[in-house]
């Protein structure tokens, strides 16, 4: 059976390219808005136009970055998952809570097999 053509539209350049996929349209935007900024229909349509063109035209694995930007500077890139002196203790506690919750989920039979 012939395979099905696919294209990934994503915002994590390093993760998708490490895995490798047949077609990848990348946006340098925050995780959560891989197609375009919220309410920015022109940006979203531009991304999707490119994704569909790549779906049809690509003959070999292809990855391409869109020129879109989230804001005029890159300050937003510093905060996601940042580890700082201010949140270090909170992160440690979050890890402890996570491990406690996993044990509870497992005891409740919530683990997938």
């Amino acid at each position: 059976m012939a395979g099905i053509a696919t294209v990934v539209v994503g915002a994590a350049w390093d993760i998708v390219n490490r895995c490798q996929v047949p077609r990848f349209v990348y946006n340098d935007l925050p995780l959560g808005n891989p197609i375009g900024k919220p309410w920015d229909i022109a940006m979203q349509s531009h991304t999707m136009d490119r994704a569909l063109a790549m779906l049809v035209d690509a003959k070999t694995p292809t990855a391409e970055a869109m020129p879109h930007r989230f804001s005029s500077d890159d300050r937003w890139k510093t905060t996601y998952m940042a580890v700082t002196d201010e949140n270090r203790a909170e992160l440690r506690e979050r890890g402890e809570e996570n491990r406690r919750q996993r044990l509870l989920d497992k005891a409740a039979g919530l683990k997938r097999k």
């Binding site: 539209v9 895995c19 490798q20 340098d28 925050p30 959560g32 779906l55 940042a82 979050r94």
Partner: protein
Amino acid sequence: MNYISYIERTKAFYAAQGFDLPYQWSQYDDVPFSPMSKRLSDACIGIVTTAYRDQTTPMMARQAEAVPTEDAPTNFLNDDLSWDKETTHMADRRSYFPLEYLKLGVKSGLIGSLSSRFYFAPTQYSQRLTIEHDAPAIVRFAQEDTLDGVVLVPI
């Protein structure tokens, strides 16, 4: 290009939470590539999303699903997924779920048709669950719905 290295950042973030073994991200040398078998104007296109519509099912119990496209929520329930909640919001589903775009494409004749279902891919920690269960399920859904092309949008 000044992209964020999510791999490095995630490693540091979870190390700070006391998880000693870093996650092993998927890495393949070969990519199975399928060309489009039809013109776009004759093709049936589907959407795969990692956005979820029902938070009553705990993350770790979620499995691949095919959902009638007409039941796609205006607002998916993404609060327990990982995305940049400090910088942005997901109140506009078009920023991660291209249903309106594809519907317009069908109307204008750019696209042949839109699948009657969309597909949910859970973001699993376990690659085994993705490879052995969720990915084959989504391939089955795509074959049942005779898709020609799929747009996958991980949030």
